[in-house]
Structure formats: C-alpha cells, structure tokens
C-alpha cells in the first residue's frame, strides 16, 4: 500500500468529504473529519520519511506514464508542505468539535465538515501533484470550499468578505489558467518536469514571459502579497474560528509553495531571476508588505483582524526569502512556511477559545482575560512570542535564517528592516497582552471566577504550543529539510 501513498493521500479525504456531508449527526461528521485528517497526517509523515531516505517519489496515476498521464511527484519541498497542511489539518480538526458546535447551527455542521475536508484535500492535492493543470483543479477545489467555509461565519460581514475573496480568488485562479494555457500552447505538455525540459527552447518568444507574468500575478493574489492582499483581513476576521486557524496556516502557505515550484522547478531560477528579474518586484513589495501591514496591525481593535494583518506581513517575510534566490534565503522562506503555520494556528486557536467563552474577540471584550482564562491566554502569549521571534521559539529560527540570508547578500538595510518590524510585532502582540493581563475585568460582580475554555479546545492548542517550542529549541530537523528543499529548488546537489 505504501507505494500508493501519494494518491491515497488525496483520494481518501476526497471520498470522506461526501460521506461527512451525508451523515445526519454532527459528531459522526466530525469523527469522519478527524479520521480523514489523521489519515492525511499518517500519509504525510510516511511520504516525508520515504523522501528523506530514498529521494524523489514518482507516482504514475492509473499507470499512465508521464508526460501523457498525470504524475504525482514528491520531493523534499512538497513533502514538507504536505506535512504542514496535514499537521494543521489534523490539529484543527480535533479543535473543531466544540468550537464549531458553538459557532454554527446544528444542521449546517456536517456540511461544514465536508467543506473542511474538501479544502484540505485541495491543498494537499496542489502540493502533491506534478501536473500543472492538476494544480489548477485542486486550487479551485480548495478555494471554492474555502469560500463556503468563510461564509459560514456568524457575522453577516462574513458573506461579503467571502464574496470579495471569491471574486479576487477566481481572478487569481483564472490568471493561473491563462499562464498554464500559454505554456501548454508553446510546449504541448502539462507535466512540470517535462515543461522544465521543453521551456528553454521557447524562452525567447514573447509568449513565455507573458505566461510567467500571468502566473506571478495569479500566485500573488492567492498568497495575498501586498497590494493584492485586500481579500485577506476581512476573510480571516469573519470566518469561523476553526476556519481562520486552518486557512491562515495553510492556504497562503500552499500558494507560496506554488510560486516556489513554478519559479524554480518549472521556469528555473535563471529565467525567473536573471531574465525576468522577478526579484525586483518581489523584494520591494514584500518589504512594503512587512512594514506597512505591521504598522496597520498596530492600529486594529479586533484581535483577529490584528493577526490577519500580521499574516500579510509574515507572508512578506516568506516572499522576501524567495526574492533572495539564494540557498539561505530560500531556506528562510521555506522554514518560515512551517513556523508561521505553527504560530498563527496557535494564536487563532487561542482566539477561538476566547470567542467560545466571551463571544467576541474585540480587544475591548478581552479585558482581564489573563486571570480568567489563564491557559488560553498563556497559549496566546506563547504564540505571540513566537510571532515576535523570541529565542527558544520557532519564530526566532525563521528570523535568524532570514537575517543571515540578507547579510549574506550584503543587503544590511533589509536585515535592519526585519529587526525593526520584529519590534513592531512586539507592539501589536503587546496590545493584546496588555488588555488581557493589565486591564481589570469590567463587570466583576456576577462572574469573577474562572472562565477557562474546555479541554477539547485547550489540548490541541497546547499541543501546537509544544511543537512551537520544540522546533524552536531543536531546529535541526526543520532546518535540514528546509535546506534540502532550498537546494532542490535551486538545483544545487539535490540529495
């Protein structure tokens, strides 16, 4: 069976989704979701283990050999992304049970879980496939289910933000199809490896740079690169807590992966960076994103929206790493994919627990929560420290690699800016902490007692806090994989 892992990774959740939609009882649907996500995690660790031992896994779908058939191709880069999606998927699935019961009407819950599984399937599919059109199909599976998930938020603004995301996301996806179509027109193939072989012969035409431009804009929309991030803050703010935790930690990461894959594997770093000079666009945009979005985050009054803007800034760090186009820069970007997924999931899950008890994540409503929900806010503080980049957390590892990468290139102003924006992260994380720990709870007459969130929410959150600290103390595994992935992408001595 293990030889079929690449396809089973996608097929099992894909089949689980309609089952979850059809079962009448919410908890049965939840059990199916946990099963599907657990399976994905099992398959993901299996794939990563095999990739680290044996190198690239190639799987021919239905026995049709590429480039005619669709090929699933797993190397260190996408095994890593698959693991991120599966890990966050499994933990948020566990977390979902109580949170979703609190936030959604009962008859919608099975449909919610079906959309949740589909979204995860789509993201896993994008990561596992080696066929560019397949990327588009999975992208739309994940996006369409994400629109549905976001629209299930309680506030009616969830509807408009989902609509906004749908419009911008569809434009982005259509741009990607245009790019793929132009590449296909010039080469007659859709297989990534085959494209990489055939593209150099037609690089001089006008069509391929146009295709590259369409793809770049499409990916930038999907990964919310400034200034194409406008869909993100509202979508994250008004989506149900579980959805925010899941999508914030996976959807944009997978979009970053798509960008990496197309730039480095399909087009090749030489074309993307020397001919098209894409770093001249990515570098300033990511710097503006990091700086301006950190600044905007400071002025937010809603904790979820604050973290959403911080997400746009953090995506800037990843794109910044990509724009270096060096092993160190890419390692920083790839390791931050994982690390940011971990810290943002913790933060949004902690806020979900706050919402579970308080019914709001406005800063105003969070006063005095440090005493009333010590474990929840403790997790938030841990995630916040990681976001800032304090040593012994994963955030520190990311910043370390990023700054080393910048200094290696001799771009010390970039390194300085990264440090300054880390200080800005201190400010916006402190805003929440100050309200929670140093402001008195206003209405203390009836319930000054403990308000701690149920264990069903706390255990998954703290499990992730533990992972945050573990990989912050011992980053040898994560940095080895990220380093391998960076070398594969740059084509330097793939292990």
């Amino acid at each position: 069976m293990s030889e079929h892992l690449p396809v089973l990774l996608v097929v099992v959740p894909l089949l689980a989704a309609p089952v979850a939609a059809l079962v009448p009882h919410p908890r049965v649907a939840w059990a199916i979701t946990v099963g599907a996500a657990g399976w994905a995690l099992y398959a993901a660790t299996g794939l990563l283990g095999r990739v680290m031992e044996e190198g690239v896994i190639r799987y021919e779908l239905g026995g049709w050999s590429p480039p005619l058939g669709i090929e699933y191709r797993v190397d260190a880069v996408n095994a890593w992304v698959i693991l991120i999606v599966a890990t966050i998927g499994a933990i948020t699935a566990l977390y979902a049970l109580r949170s979703v019961e609190r936030e959604l009407e009962r008859d919608r819950i099975p449909l919610f879980y079906a959309a949740f599984i589909l979204c995860m399937t789509g993201l896993l599919g994008i990561a596992v496939t080696g066929d560019v059109f397949n990327v588009f199909v999975f992208l739309e599976i994940s996006s369409l289910s994400a629109y549905g998930l976001i629209a299930m938020g309680q506030d009616r603004r969830a509807l408009t933000s989902s609509y906004q995301y749908l419009i911008m996301g569809s434009v982005g996806a259509t741009f990607i199809v245009i790019g793929i179509g132009l590449m296909y027109g010039m080469t007659g193939t859709l297989n990534m490896m085959d494209l990489a072989e055939r593209l150099p012969a037609v690089m001089d035409t006008r069509t391929i740079p146009v295709a590259f431009a369409f793809l770049t804009v499409g990916f930038s929309l999907k990964l919310a690169l400034f200034p194409l991030h406008l869909w993100l803050p509202n979508a994250y703010t008004f989506a149900p807590s579980t959805v925010t935790a899941f999508i914030a930690s996976t959807a944009t990461k997978v979009a970053v992966y798509m960008m990496l894959r197309f730039f480095f594997t399909v087009f090749g770093a030489a074309f993307a960076f020397d001919v098209m000079n894409v770093d001249m666009i990515l570098l300033p945009l990511s710097l503006v994103a990091i700086f301006s979005m950190s600044l905007v985050a400071i002025y937010q009054d809603n904790a979820k929206r604050l973290l959403a803007y911080s997400s746009v800034a953090q995506i800037g760090y990843m794109v910044l790493g990509i724009s270096f186009a060096t092993v160190m820069g890419l390692t920083a970007g790839i390791i931050h994919l994982f690390n940011h997924a971990l810290m943002k999931a913790v933060l949004f899950m902690a806020l979900g627990a706050v919402f579970y008890r308080v019914g709001s994540v406005e800063l105003e409503a969070m006063r005095g929560l440090g005493k009333r929900m010590p474990w929840t806010m403790g997790a938030f503080v841990a995630g916040g420290l990681s976001l800032i980049g304090v040593p012994l957390t994963v955030g520190f590892i990311s910043k370390w690699y990023l700054i080393t990468g910048a200094l290696e290139k001799g771009w010390w102003p970039v390194a300085v800016l990264v440090l300054i924006t880390s200080l800005m992260a201190v400010i916006y994380v402190w805003k929440v902490i100050e309200v929670a720990y140093f402001h008195e709870f206003p209405g203390s007459e009836d319930d000054d007692g403990a308000l701690e969130a149920p264990l069903a929410l706390l255990i998954p959150t703290w499990a992730l806090v533990f992972v945050n600290v573990y990989f912050g103390v011992d980053a040898s595994l994560t940095s080895r994989i990220a380093g391998d992935a960076a070398r594969i992408l740059l084509g330097e001595g793939a292990p």
């Binding site: 480039p67 005619l68 059109f133 588009f136 199909v137 739309e140 369409l144 629109y147 549905g148 629209a151 009616r156 603004r157 509807l159 408009t160 989902s162 609509y163 749908l166 419009i167 569809s170 434009v171 996806a173 259509t174 199809v177 245009i178 179509g181 296909y184 027109g185 080469t187 007659g188 193939t189 859709l190």
Partner: protein, 169 residues
C-alpha cells in the same frame, strides 16, 4: 494585416477578457460583478479551445482501420497538414506523444503518413477546458448563492450600500 486577420481568435479572447474584467472592476452590483467574472473566465475557455483547433480538422475519432499503425499514421497526417499554424505545432507535440505511447517513434510515424490520413483537432485543450467550465459553473453558483444570502441579510446587492451599512455599525 495578415497578422491581424490570422490571429482573430486571440483578438476575440482579449476583447472578451477586457470587457469581463472591466465589468468586474467597475460595477458595484454584485450580480453584474459575477457576470463580468464569468465573461472573463469564458474568454480563457475560448483561448484554450482555439489553441487546439486545426483549420479543417475534424473531431479526433478513429476512422477506418484499427491498431497502433493506423493510429500513428493519422497522427502524423495531422502533423503534416497543419503546417505553419501554431495550433498545429501543439498538435505535433501531442501527436508525437501518442505515437510514443503506441510504441512507435515519431519518425517511423512520419514515414507511415500517406495511407488514410485524417486531419483532426487536438482534443486535449478541449478536455482541459471541460474541467475549467465545470469549475467556472461552480464558482458562479457559489457566488450567486452568496449574493442571495447577502440580499437576505442586507436587503441590497449594491456594493456601496453594503459598505455604508457595515461602516455605520
């Protein structure tokens, strides 16, 4: 002039794309925005379809003989007649792949051309775009159902009015 006429399919695509995109950006009505999005997506469908079309080509259905030899010959036929057309270049590549799959080299297939050659269009972009059409329909359906729910909870589908209602909260 020949260039303009010879690429009229792309001109239609670009025109439709721009019209759709303009509607998407300029209109405040949520349903009209979706219409623009649909138009925008449709232009891409046409791009793919015209990419695979070979002038005078028929549907890719096996005519006459059976077996690998005839199959490859037909492919080579499509390759030979298509000539300078860009779409045929694509077809040529696809034909080479099919020939490979049939256990023959492209050169061997070239020699076999002559007997029972049928010119046909490249089916692959058409198949791809069937998928994309389904995706487009799903997107429009999700979008319209969102619009219905927005109408239910806001009482309007004009973007600026919705914006005002959200601001006044």
């Amino acid at each position: 002039m020949n260039f303009l006429v010879g690429h009229y399919n792309y001109e239609v695509v670009i025109l439709l794309m721009m019209v759709g995109f303009y509607i998407l950006i300029s209109r405040g009505n949520l349903v009209k925005k979706l219409l623009g999005l649909s138009l925008f997506q449709t232009s891409v469908f046409i791009m793919y379809i015209s990419l695979g079309k070979v002038a005078g080509g028929t549907a890719p259905i096996l005519m006459g003989g059976h077996g690998g030899d005839d199959h490859a010959a037909e492919d080579a036929g499509g390759h030979a007649v298509g000539g300078a057309d860009q779409a045929a270049e694509v077809l040529g590549n696809a034909a080479a792949e099919v020939a490979q799959a049939a256990g023959q080299t492209a050169e061997a297939a070239g020699h076999a051309s002559g007997a029972g050659e049928v010119l046909y269009s490249n089916p692959l972009p058409h198949v791809l775009i069937l998928t994309a059409i389904v995706v487009g329909i799903a997107t429009t359906a999700v979008g319209l159902s969102l619009v219905i729910r927005i109408k239910e909870s806001y009482g309007t589908i004009e973007e600026d009015e919705i914006h005002d209602m959200d601001e006044s909260l």
